[in-house]
Symmetry: C2
Subunit: 456 residues, 2 copies
C-alpha cells in the first residue's frame, strides 16, 4: 500500500481460489436482485457493473487478461514484476500520487497477479469512482519505465521471493510440486518467477510486456457498489474510452499437458518443519476445459470429500479416527487451462503421516468405488450455495468472481447459470469424476518432513 518497497502484494497462487474463499462463480440470485449489466467500450474494453446500494462505496477493479502463464520462455516473473511497476510514476502523476489519493479519501487499493490474469483494485467512496478511473486509465498507457525504476523494483521483487518463498520450506516444496505435477503446461512455473530469471528482467522486457498486454481491448473493468450502469458507462467513456485500442492478440493457446502415466513424489526435509504433512494433486479439467457438468462435479467432489468440518475426510480422520490435525480437499476451477485437484493432511499426536495418507487414499477410493449418497450430495450443494451467498455479501468478492471468470474466458451468463448447473449434478457424476481423475497411479504428492538427523 505504500508507494515503495514494502507494498503488500497479494499474489494469487491459483489454489487460493479453490479453498472456498471464493466459489468459482456467483449465485444467480444476485443477477436478479441487482441487475448486473455488461457492455463493451468502443476500444474493446469490457465493462461489468454490479450495483450494490447498501453503502455509499464502490469497488473498482481492472483485470488484464495476462498472467504468469502468458510469459515468454525464460522471462518468468515478468507478469508479477509488472504489477509492481504499475505503482510507479506516469507522464501525468509522480510515483505514489495514486496511492496517496486513495489513502486521503479513506479508501484502500492493491493488486494481484495469478497464472491467468493481473488485477488492480480500489475500494473508495462512490463519488471518487471517476477519479479512480482516471488514474487507472492513465497508468494503462502512460507509465514511465526508466532503467532506474526497473532496477529498484527488481530488487523489491527479488527480496519478496527470498522472504516469501526461499525462506519458507512449504513454499519451496509447493513450487517443486507444481513443476512436477505439470509436465508441459505453464502453470508449472511459479507466478513470482524463478530467481535466476527474475534477476535478468530488464526495461526492454517490461516495455514489450506493457505494450502487448496493457491495452483496453485486453482488459475487463468491474465496478461493484453504489453506482448505476448509465453513470458508470459515461465515466468509463470519459476516462478509459480515450485510451487507444492496442494490437489484436492471438488466442491464448498455451502448451497443454500430455497424458500422464506415472505416480510422482516430491520430498522436502527441513529443520524448520515440526509436523510432517502431505498434499497429493492431480491434473483435472477446469471450468474452461471441462466437458459439461464435469467441473461442477469436481467442485462438489471437493466439497464432499474435503470441504470443511462436514466433509468425509474431516469426519473420518479428525473426528472419528483422531489421526489428523488437518485434512481437506480443494479444486481450483476458475482457470484458463486444465487445473489441479488436491487433497492434504497432517498427523496429530503419535499418528504417522503414512496413516493419514492411507486414510485419505481410502476415502477417495470409497467415493470412486461406491459413490456418494443423494442426501450427502444435496447437503454439499446447500453448503456450496450458502458459501456463495456469504461471498455475495462482500462487494469485493463479487467483483472478484466476475473479474476472474471474464479474464479466463467465461461470461456473465456462465456466472448466472452456474447455480443451476451445480443443482443438476448427480451422484453418478461425482463417482465418475473421482474414478476418472483421482487415480493413485497418476498422482503427484508433496511431502514436507522434519529434517532427518545428520542428513540431507
Amino acid at each position: 500500500m505504500t508507494p515503495t518497497g514494502n507494498r503488500l502484494c497479494a499474489m494469487f497462487l491459483g489454489v487460493w481460489l479453490g479453498f472456498g474463499v471464493l466459489p468459482a462463480a456467483a449465485d444467480t440470485q444476485v443477477a436478479g436482485e441487482t441487475k448486473i449489466s455488461s457492455f463493451t467500450l468502443g476500444n474493446g474494453m469490457e465493462v461489468v457493473v454490479i450495483p450494490d446500494h447498501r453503502a455509499p462505496i464502490a469497488t473498482h477493479m481492472v483485470w488484464y487478461k495476462v498472467g504468469s502463464a502468458d510469459e515468454p520462455p525464460g522471462k518468468s516473473g515478468i507478469a508479477h514484476f509488472f504489477e509492481h511497476l504499475m505503482f510507479k510514476g506516469t507522464t501525468n502523476h509522480a510515483a505514489g500520487e495514486f496511492d496517496r489519493a486513495v489513502a486521503e479519501i479513506g479508501g484502500n487499493n492493491n493488486a494481484f497477479t495469478s497464472y491467468d490474469y493481473t488485477a488492480y483494485f480500489e475500494t473508495v467512496p462512490a463519488d471518487a469512482l471517476e477519479q479512480m478511473m482516471a488514474f487507472e486509465a492513465d497508468r494503462m498507457r502512460n507509465l514511465v519505465l526508466s532503467d532506474e525504476v526497473i532496477a529498484t523494483e527488481r530488487d523489491v521483487v527479488l527480496e519478496e521471493r527470498r522472504s516469501r518463498i526461499d525462506n519458507d520450506p512449504s513454499a519451496l516444496l509447493d513450487e517443486e510440486v507444481s513443476a512436477t505435477l505439470w509436465q508441459n503446461q505453464p502453470y508449472r512455473i511459479p507466478v513470482i518467477g524463478w530467481m535466476q530469471e527474475m534477476k535478468q528482467l530488464n526495461r526492454a522486457d517490461a516495455q514489450a510486456f506493457y505494450d502487448r498486454y496493457y491495452t483496453p481491448n485486453n482488459a475487463v473493468l468491474v465496478v461493484a457498489g453504489d453506482v448505476e450502469e448509465e453513470a458508470v458507462k459515461a465515466m468509463a467513456e470519459r476516462t478509459y474510452g480515450k485510451v487507444a485500442r492496442g494490437p489484436d492478440l492471438p488466442p491464448r493457446e498455451r502448451p497443454v499437458e500430455p497424458e500422464q502415466n506415472t505416480k510422482r513424489t516430491v520430498t522436502l526435509s527441513d529443520q524448520r518443519v515440526s509436523v510432517p504433512s502431505f498434499s497429493a494433486q492431480w491434473v483435472v479439467p477446469s471450468y474452461s476445459t471441462a466437458e459439461p457438468g464435469e467441473a461442477e462435479a469436481l467442485d462438489l467432489l471437493a466439497e464432499i470429500l474435503g470441504g470443511g468440518v462436514r466433509s468425509r475426510l474431516y469426519q473420518e480422520l479428525v473426528v472419528k479416527q483422531r489421526i489428523a490435525v488437518s485434512t481437506g480437499a480443494s479444486y481450483s476451477g476458475t482457470m484458463l487451462d486444465d487445473t489441479s485437484f488436491a487433497v492434504y493432511g497432517a498427523p496429530v499426536g503419535q499418528a504417522a503421516l503414512e496413516q493419514v495418507e492411507t486414510a485419505v487414499t481410502r476415502e477417495i477410493a470409497r467415493i470412486a468405488d461406491e459413490g456418494v449418497t443423494a442426501d450427502e450430495l444435496e447437503s454439499a450443494k446447500k453448503r456450496f450455495v450458502r458459501a456463495t451467498i456469504f461471498a455475495r455479501d462482500r462487494q469485493t468478492a463479487m467483483a472478484n468472481i466476475f473479474g476472474s471468470t471474464l479474464a479466463t474466458g467465461g461470461s456473465v451468463r456462465d456466472i448466472e447459470e452456474w447455480p443451476g448447473r451445480i443443482e443438476k449434478v448427480t451422484p453418478e457424476q461425482i463417482k465418475t469424476a473421482a474414478a476418472r481423475y483421482l487415480v493413485p497411479s497418476r498422482s503427484t504428492t508433496g511431502y514436507l518432513l522434519p529434517q532427518a538427523k545428520g542428513g540431507n
Copy 2:
C-alpha cells in the same frame, strides 16, 4: 533408409552419448596424426576436415545447430519432424532420389535429432563426396513443403511415437522422469514431442522452422575419410558456397534450471515389466556450462563409479554382493546447457530393488565422503583414453565427436585439448564433484515396476 514410412530414424536422446558409446570429445593424438583442419565458408558455414586414408571411403555429415530444446513453446517434436521432412522432394530432386543415389553406390545414410542439434550423414565411396554435398546443399534450401507432404509425414512420426514410446513402459517412464528432473530447462520436453502437440504441427510451423534454422550460417559440415582439405574446400565452395546466408540468429539462450531443493520419485507399474529397475538422476554442469575441470571430473566419476565391469558399482553389486543383474553410471557431457548424471540398477534372483538402490547410494556416499584412490583414478583415465582410441578408429564416431562438440558451442581446440584436461583431474576433484552434485535429497529417481495385482 527407404524414402517413405519406415526409415529407421536414430533419434539421439542425450543419454545415448553418455553411455560410453561416444566419449564426450576426442583424443588429441588424432589431431596430430591426421591434420584435422577447419575453416568457414563465405556464407558462414563451418567446415571440419578429418583425413583418414585407410580406406577409399568418406563420411559426410551436416550438423544444424537446432534441436528439440530450441523449439517454440507448444511445438514440441518440430525439430525431429523436420528431420523426416528433409527426406522429401526438393525443387531439383524427387523424394527418394537422394536415398537411391546413396544406395546405388553402396553407401548408407541417415539422420538424427537430439536436444541441441540435428545431423544428416552419408558414408560413401570417397569419389562420391561432391555428389553428396550437392544433394545436401540442395535440400538445405530447396525443400518442397506441401500440405500433403506434411500430413503424410506427420502420420509417420505419430506412429513412431506410438511404437517407440507409448508402447514401451520404459520409454514412457524416461519421458516423465525427464519432465520431473528438469523443472525449467527445455530438456524436459521429449525430443520426439508430446503427442497432442505433434498432432497439431503444420506446414506453417515447418516452413518457419526451415527458414530460421536450415541455413549455412547455422550449420557445421564435417567430412572424415579419404579426402584432403583443399579438395574438400573446393567442393564445399562449389556446392554449399552457393547457398545464401540466412538471418543472423540470436544467441541460444534458453531457460535454465532454478535451484533444486527436493527429492523426487517417478513410478510406473506395468504388466509388461518383469524385472524391476531404478535410475536416479541429478542436474549437473555440461562441458558448456561447467567450471574448468568439473565436467572432466564428472566424466571420470561416471567411469569410476559405474563405467563397465571394472567400476565400483559393478564390482560391488554384481560381483561381490551378487544382488544386481545390472548397474552403472552415466554422464552426458556434450550438451549446450546443464545436463544430467545418472546411476541405475536392477536386482537379480531374490534380491529386492530396494537393496540394489541402497547399495548404489552407499557407493556414491563412499566417494563423496572418502574420495577415490590415485591408482583408481589413473586406471579410469586409461580406460577412458582407450575408449577414445577405439572411437577414433571408427570414422563416423570421429565425425560425431567433432560435429556434436561444434554444434554445442565447443571448438576443434576444445577437442584437441580435452585429453590433457582429463589427465589433470585429481582425486580431490572427483570427491568434490560427487559431494557437490550427487546429493540424495536432490535426486530424481524413476522406478519401473511390475504391475501390482489388481491395481493402478
